[in-house]
């Protein structure tokens, strides 16, 4: 399990990184933490001709308020989010901190980066799910300059995104606060990718749900929004019965894959349970 040969280059600025990517051609890849990429290279499942190491770029590690929202620099390690302590951020974005615990293991969280995970686009990855859940905007820079891609357009399939080969994710923006959001996962072993995970966010005011988002991981080739479940919640009721029904609707709406850990039926069952549990958690004491 030794990787195929590749050319290694280091970029010290975003511009330098884009330049190098362009120059090295379509077979080149960015190295932003490498906690998934290097494993795949060791298996020789991917064989990039070149790696542009962007981890030396300063200024891309941050968690910053952005009006009501939050900006996350692409090279922010998972660990920073796990250790987020700013009370303002915590009030509105505690779901990120909660989710960080589910991201791999401790040593993976020290090196793996937020933007790396987004660009890798594993449909079960926590950051990808939360990006879709919270309508994140993904800021990418390419030779033509900067563009902002809504998360709903960004994820296009297993490990496939709207990024051009010479584009780089520099920032992920969460525009709206998400005080009533939660993520629940089920994996057979600590730290593994979930068989199914559910992320939900509720806009609850005066004990009534005004809008809702439900996203499932592990059931499709992208983090999957489930409008059928959202519609149940948007009737306003935030009771256990409504959460249960939302879960059931989510289970009915999906067409999940089969693998050694479970067939489609099992994944549907897990979806129903996890959606209900996530909603219960998200509603918290207002539910």
């Amino acid at each position: 399990m030794k990787p195929a040969a590749f050319k290694y280059q280091r970029a010290n600025t975003v511009e330098e990184g884009i330049e190098q990517l362009t120059e090295l051609g379509d077979e080149a890849k960015l190295l932003a933490g490498g906690q998934s990429l290097v494993a795949m290279m060791n298996f020789r499942l991917v064989r990039p001709s070149a790696l542009v190491d962007i981890t030396p770029i300063p200024d891309l590690q941050y968690l910053e308020p952005d009006g009501e929202g939050l900006k996350v620099g692409a090279l922010t390690p998972h660990r920073w989010i796990e250790e987020m302590e700013d009370p303002d951020l915590l009030e509105d974005f505690s779901v990120l901190k909660e989710a960080a615990r589910w991201v791999g293991h401790y040593p993976i969280r020290t090196l793996g980066t937020f933007g790396g995970s987004i660009a890798h686009a594993d449909p079960s990855a926590e950051w990808c799910m939360l990006a879709v859940l919270l309508d994140a905007e993904i800021v990418a820079v390419g030779p033509e300059g900067e563009r902002v891609i809504p998360a709903s357009d960004f994820f296009q399939g297993f490990f496939m995104t709207a990024l051009e080969p010479d584009e780089m994710v520099v920032e992920v923006r969460f525009p709206e606060p998400a005080p009533h959001a939660s993520i629940q996962e089920f994996a057979r072993r600590a730290g593994d990718f979930a068989i199914v995970s559910a992320a939900v966010s509720l806009d609850v005011r005066d004990k009534e749900c005004h809008s809702a988002r439900v996203v499932l991981g592990g059931v499709s080739d992208v983090p999957l929004r489930v409008p059928e479940a959202e519609r149940v919640l948007e009737r306003g009721d935030i009771s256990r019965e409504a959460f249960d029904e939302a879960g059931q609707e989510a289970a009915k709406a999906i067409d999940p894959p089969s693998d050694v850990h479970g067939d489609p039926d099992y994944r549907r069952d897990l979806s129903a349970v996890l959606v209900r549990r996530a909603l219960t958690e998200a509603a918290g004491d207002v539910g």
Partner: protein, 791 residues
């Protein structure tokens, strides 16, 4: 006791820290991949991606163009070299040869087709990628059912069917009559999943050919260096004394490294041909897809019980999926023959008949894996007990109490002729049940269920046959019969002792425990004793470490040899002290005249006199302070009862473990800390087989679970703390009173967990007859029980 303890209580029985620890804690351990040689070449193998195929052509030209690649060896380069042929001398056995490289037939995915040698591991893999193999795919046989159908394709062309071994013993004609008297008859089919040992260090070897003296040195991560040497001598046609096999530190084995693998033979061949050192370090994917698996078995069983819950008769049809080949030297008979001979376990049973088959499939070959067949048949026997108890309305402890072999019945002879030495079967059951407050269980469970929680308590009782000597193994009729071991003790001129033994520890702490045993005989402290293992040039012939044999056999040999060395020390000291040897005792590093504590000589002075001041001794007495002894016992049974609490999440099918209690009896404990470590590690592997690990092949014969992302070795979050209670029935057949105990943890856990899960779901009539118990299967069963209206 023949010897003299160093103090009244001695070193045996004390939890002293391990000698082995310091090197591993500081990074000074030495594993095969840590050894470097100049101009060394690295091997990588081209392996078949298909389960069954014909190899039409292998082209190596492109590979030879890769920078760094020196040579590619394919089957046609090995024409004069035979494969490995493990043999059982039984008419029911079909021997098949394991080719070192496949030239024609591919019989499992992962089978090696070519070996690439290059100046770095990276270049070797580049070369392996560039070797082109033209395969003609065939329909693989990937399950027991498929292999046993009438018109199944045969895995081996020369065979008429897929059965490598089919043994019917005992064939007891009175079994059927016994069933007629039974009040309860349980009929069921049980299956257990295919698993792998997954030692944290995979296989690895480094071969050095010394042309100067036509000698081969092989460093290999093995449990059986002497056996590797014997196999190498046959394949390379070299005298054994021209081969030195060294096992440096070995990063776990669990049976996977007690067999000889073809890579261990191919790497030396390459070294001999190229005249350079050659290293191969197996990667994790190879370890999962191309080494050895085990434990995939099916039991079709009927058992008759009388109205008091006593088992009257047992019939079993046992089929083991042994994969594509036999393993060397044990053969594919190791699982079915053990299952057949030992299935009744700790229970008194008169009427038993069984059929056991080794069935070949297009999967990785089976090798003995911790427990071999005992985790499986213990699971079967314990499930039978629980099913019978349910049918007869009896509790889990009572039915076992009525069936376990008791004190006055020892030595007990089983229907297959296996003799059980005394143990504490009932006592361990009672102790475990008491620790878990079994008396209050029904109430606790009732209360939990009324709160909507599903909790269960399960037990498993078992006997663990260990320290098999030659005579026990000979009944299997292997062409090469394991059993004996030897120890050689030598005192140096400063009074330190080197112990050389044929066992080969790889985590069991032999360098500590064998030193404890020798220290008591010699009256010196263990730090004066250096135990050497794992080098065929430096140790007497021995069978290595597997089947929980080392402390019984290697420990027995060490104790006997140490007693002889103590005699030699007394003899020499008798001249220095002018006393008769019979009046001398060895204690606290001194040789003392019994009854006169101030009349003594230091052991170190005895050693000095023997080598450096020979003039102090009569002629002919000096110059040697050493002793040899062998040991070959009949075997002995440890026993234990495991008890575990579980809670099931009915919505996800997840099983969470609560308290886990082991009440065990392994005779005299040499080092209780190490005993407990073996129990805990064994239980972890048993939990893994019960709940987490399963190797899955797809219809193409490819292993789907070929990484540690898919093959779920559990972590510290899944494995609970294990409470251990000890009983001690000293063994009459081992020199030390110790019984082997390396596998019991693994044997007891699946059965106990299955019993606990079934107990938690007893009100739903869900039976747990298949391992592993995965959340998806459990959820499906719960859903079915509620007829779709599950929580």
């Amino acid at each position: 006791m023949s010897g003299n303890g160093s103090s009244s209580d001695g070193w045996v029985g004390r939890s002293i820290p391990r000698v082995e620890d310091a090197r591993h804690l500081t990074g000074r351990g030495l594993f095969v991949d840590d050894i470097e040689r100049s101009r060394m070449l690295y091997a990588a193998f081209v392996r078949s991606p298909f389960g069954a195929a014909r190899v039409k052509e292998v082209s190596v030209e492109d590979a030879l163009e890769i920078p760094g690649v020196e040579r590619v060896i394919i089957r046609s380069d090995l024409e004069s070299i035979p494969g490995l042929k493990p043999v059982l001398h039984r008419p029911e056995f079909v021997g098949v040869e394991v080719p070192l490289l496949s030239g024609n037939s591919i019989r499992h995915a992962g089978e090696p087709v070519a070996m690439v040698l290059a100046d770095s591991p990276h270049a070797a893999e580049d070369g392996a990628d560039a070797v082109q193999v033209d395969y003609e795919r065939q329909e693989p046989v990937v399950s027991l059912d498929a292999a046993l159908t009438e018109d199944a394709r045969t895995v081996h062309d020369e065979m008429e069917d897929n059965v490598l071994l089919d043994v019917r013993v005992p064939d007891d004609p009175e079994v059927d009559e016994a069933f007629e008297e039974a009040s309860a008859v349980i009929e069921a089919t049980f299956t257990t999943g295919r698993v792998a040992a997954v030692p944290m260090e995979g296989r690895a070897c480094l071969a050095e050919w010394y042309g100067r003296e036509d000698k081969l040195v092989l460093y290999t991560s093995t449990q059986v260096p002497h056996i590797v040497r014997t196999a190498l001598a046959d394949v390379l046609d070299l005298p054994q004394q021209r081969i030195r096999v060294v096992a440096p530190d070995v990063g776990g084995g669990f049976g996977q490294k007690c067999v000889v693998s073809r890579e261990e033979l191919l790497v030396p061949i390459a070294s001999q041909r190229l005249g350079r050192s050659v290293k191969w370090v197996e990667d994790r994917q190879e370890n999962l897809t191309a080494s050895f698996h085990g434990h995939e078995q099916r039991y079709e069983v009927s058992a008759g019980f009388d109205e008091e819950g006593k088992i009257l008769a047992l019939k079993a049809d046992i089929a083991c999926d042994v994969g594509a080949y036999s393993c060397y030297p044990f053969t594919c008979g190791v699982e079915p023959l053990m299952a057949q001979a030992e299935m009744p376990g700790p229970y008194r049973l008169k009427r038993y008949s069984s059929r056991a088959r080794a069935v070949t499939t297009n999967k990785v070959p089976m090798a003995p894996y911790r427990g071999v067949s005992r985790p499986q048949f213990t699971f079967v026997m314990e499930r039978l007990m629980q099913k019978a108890a349910k049918q007869l309305d009896m509790d889990a402890v009572e039915i076992r109490r009525r069936n376990l072999i008791t004190g006055e019945e020892f030595p007990y002879e089983s229907p297959t002729g296996v003799v059980y030495d005394p143990g504490s079967y009932i006592e361990s059951l009672e102790k475990c049940a008491e620790a878990l407050d079994f008396g209050a269980w029904t109430k606790r469970q009732y209360e939990a269920r009324s709160e909507g929680r599903l909790i269960g308590l399960g037990f498993s009782s078992f006997a663990e046959r260990t320290g098999y000597g030659t005579r026990a193994f000979a009944l299997r009729k292997m062409a090469i019969t394991p059993g004996l071991d030897n120890a050689h003790l030598k005192m140096d001129p400063s009074g330190n002792v080197a112990v050389a033994v044929g066992t080969c520890g790889h985590g069991q702490g032999h360098q500590t425990t064998l030193a404890q045993i020798a220290a008591d005989e010699l009256g010196i402290t263990p730090d004066k004793i250096l135990v050497r293992q794992g080098d065929t040039d430096a140790t007497p012939y021995g069978w290595g470490t597997f089947a929980s044999r080392s402390l019984v056999i290697g420990g027995g040999a060490t104790k006997k040899a140490a007693a002889l060395l103590a005699d030699r020390i007394r003899e020499i000291a008798s001249h220095l002290l002018e006393a008769s040897p019979e009046d001398l005792e060895l204690e606290d590093g001194q040789v003392r005249v019994k009854g006169s504590p101030y009349h003594f000589v230091e052991v170190a002075e005895v050693a000095r006199a023997a080598f450096l001041e020979a003039q102090r001794l009569p002629e002919g007495e000096a110059g040697t302070l050493e002793a040899n002894a062998g040991f070959d016992p009949p075997g002995t049974f440890s026993n234990a009862t495991h008890g575990v609490e579980v809670e099931i999440d009915p919505e996800t099918g997840e099983v969470r473990l609560g308290r886990y209690v082991v009440a065990e009896d392994c005779g005299v404990m040499i080092n209780p800390m190490i005993v407990e470590g073996q129990v805990r590690g064994g239980v972890a592997q048993g939990i893994a087989a019960a709940l987490y690990e399963r190797l899955v092949y797809d219809d193409e014969g490819q292993l789907v679970t070929s990484t540690l992302m898919d093959y779920l070795v559990p972590t510290a979050m899944e494995i609970p703390s294990v409470e251990i209670l000890h009983l001690e029935t000293p063994c009459e057949y081992s020199e030390t009173g110790a019984k082997g105990m390396g596998e019991g943890g693994t044997m007891g856990a699946p059965a106990a967990i299955a019993s606990a899960v079934a107990d938690a779901l007893s009100h739903l009539d869900i039976e747990i007859d298949h391992l592993p118990i995965t959340p998806d299967r459990l959820r499906a069963a719960i859903k079915e029980a509620y007829e779709g209206d599950a929580p």
